[in-house]
Symmetry: C2
Subunit: 359 residues, 2 copies
């Protein structure tokens, strides 16, 4: 609804090898760990004794994204970045990416180019090598499967099930914005569908739109933690909402937690839109998802190192398992935290557009 | 058309985390290179200085496979094995596998279990660890994306673009059988569609059906070559037919080749069915695809080591590029080799069910 493409080259005009050549012709290898990228039966990597992190992700049109308001370049960028975020969540840096993509004949070469340009832009910005994949036609729509590889020393790797009682719970950036961006886009889509002459009203919503359409992976936070000589005791990225992710940490670590509502970082634009939509901002942060911020626990001794950092918030602490997992509200009440995450097989909540992984 | 399932459990009854627990509960890690499999943001691997091979593959219902005659367990097995074959084609061994899968609500838990049981059986047989993936609902049908990782020392890795003039061209096993199996299944499907009371006539076709429905990756050949102290000068697996693959080797290596029609190994069952179908058996071998045998070149000095091996055939030799790529026919004629491979964007040859990779 926000795009207009003029040129259209049918994919059938290139043949598959021609298409692959076209799509991969400008790739330059950036990492010394990449010995061979696109072009053989397999890519060849050399991690020289460092540990290898592998994560994979599936994105399906109509389930995970809606092309009526997602520009193709943004879609490619986001698809790559959310995978990079999984590697960051292990306290590591992404180095290689594969993309398998299937498209119906509805998609032209120019459309594919847009998707790949987003993928390549993300690879460029994050220093990641694109090392191959698979291309295919599909019966309906667009489907992407991405696999990212990253590196870390064994000592640096941070799992989600290793939080300890007394640890502080920290979060990077702010929460709830991506979900507000999604609700806004869905609202304007409905308006547009009802009357195509009404132009979408997206003025002044730049921040939450960017949070939804062009999120970033917080590898900058990983670098910062290295500089501060902080190794988190446990870490996860926030793809499904704060509540779902802290439950993963606590359940895995066999602990409880107390989170303080007033400490949950939120941007004013997110709060304002949340009120506009009639949603409690805290609910947006707890259950919204797709923020791709990092949720991690640190030893109390590291508190001084981060307490004045505007990009890191201490939002609670890890407790004994018997204490349960609780939110301490602004009024001082205590509410049990529940994951309201999206469930791919219970209901198809397309309007949330969330992703779910084997984690 | 060959299956009847009785029990049906809706996926919606489990929830996604329940589903993932169910599907991954019996996984046991086999390789010391797998430090952490399913259960965190990323799997963690340790290759201890060995090189890493990565290959990925996309399989879409209606494009790459037809569930009317493909049992789900076979589908899972084959999906894994064809990925293992890509690692074998690098003269290496597969060690880890990820599977991302999307299914529509047409699929029950029992159906998913069947697919995974095939995947796990392949992992068991090939000593591969299943380390994670992604699950999702789909708008239509079944989609799988697999990524396999394997290991080799730098000295062992064999690329496709390093054949040298005078090298012998070798192939493992026999060719054309998988394609004949596919044509047979397609034929019986048509008969069945015309009259559902007619039972499929598959008696006596076991070999070609197995070649199509349950291929194997020739890691046994890789082991044999190690034992014989042969390092191929170039190697590729035959997923698209002999002609297409030898063209990859010759084009990449900037050489020509002469292949001898009479030397191309074919099983009698394949030849017989080929005649039945009115197809020249040589055409089946050259263009059929999906045999997943290995095509490789060796130095002349290694000839003595393999000449009596019933599982390896020398089918020609590498020539100067100016000589072109030719088939020497049984009658002594010379025919230029052409890739008749499937092209995903030119035409959708569903009846061939072939896969195509970025190679």
């Amino acid at each position: 609804m926000f795009e207009n493409r003029n040129k259209r080259t049918e994919l059938s005009g290139l043949g598959e090898f021609g298409l692959i050549r076209h799509l991969t012709k400008d790739i330059h290898i950036k990492n010394s760990s990449t010995l061979k990228g696109v072009g053989d039966d397999a890519a060849v990597l050399d991690y020289q004794g460092r540990k290898i992190l592998v994560s994979t992700d599936l994105l399906i049109e109509g389930i995970h994204f809606d092309l009526t308001y997602t520009p193709l370049k943004h879609l490619g960028y986001k698809a790559a970045v959310v995978n990079f975020s999984d590697i960051a969540a292990m306290n590591a840096f992404p180095e290689q990416l594969t993309l398998s993509i299937a498209v119906s004949n509805r998609f032209s070469l120019e459309a594919l180019d847009e998707i790949y340009s987003g993928i390549y832009l993300a690879c460029e910005r994050y220093g990641v090598d694109f090392i191959g994949g698979d291309t295919s036609s599909s019966v309906t729509g667009l489907m992407m499967s991405l696999t990212v590889l990253g590196a870390a020393s064994k000592a640096d790797i941070t799992y989600r099930d290793t939080a300890r009682i007394g640890n502080l719970v920290c979060v990077s950036g702010d929460l709830g914005g991506a979900y507000m961006g999604l609700l806004l886009l869905e609202r304007e889509k409905k308006v547009f569908k009802a009357d195509p002459l009404v132009r979408p009203d997206l003025e002044g919503y730049d921040y939450i739109l960017q949070r939804q359409l062009k999120p970033e992976a917080r590898v900058d936070i990983i670098r910062k933690l290295r500089d501060l000589r902080i190794k988190p005791t446990a870490m996860i990225d926030i793809s499904d909402g704060l509540a779902s992710e802290i439950l993963h940490i606590c359940t895995g670590s066999k602990t409880g937690c107390s989170l303080y509502e007033e400490k949950i970082p939120m941007d004013p634009a997110t709060m304002q839109t949340s009120y506009e939509m009639g949603i409690d901002p805290t609910v947006s942060a707890l259950n919204g998802g797709e923020d791709y911020e990092l949720l991690f626990t640190i030893d109390m001794k590291d508190y001084e190192k981060i307490k004045d950092d505007p990009d890191l918030s201490v939002i609670g602490h890890i407790t004994d398992q018997s204490g349960g997992m609780n939110l301490i509200t602004r009024s001082g009440g205590q509410v049990p935290l529940k994951a309201q995450g999206w469930d791919a097989f219970f209901e198809r909540r397309e309007e949330k557009g969330e992703r779910r992984k084997e984690k």
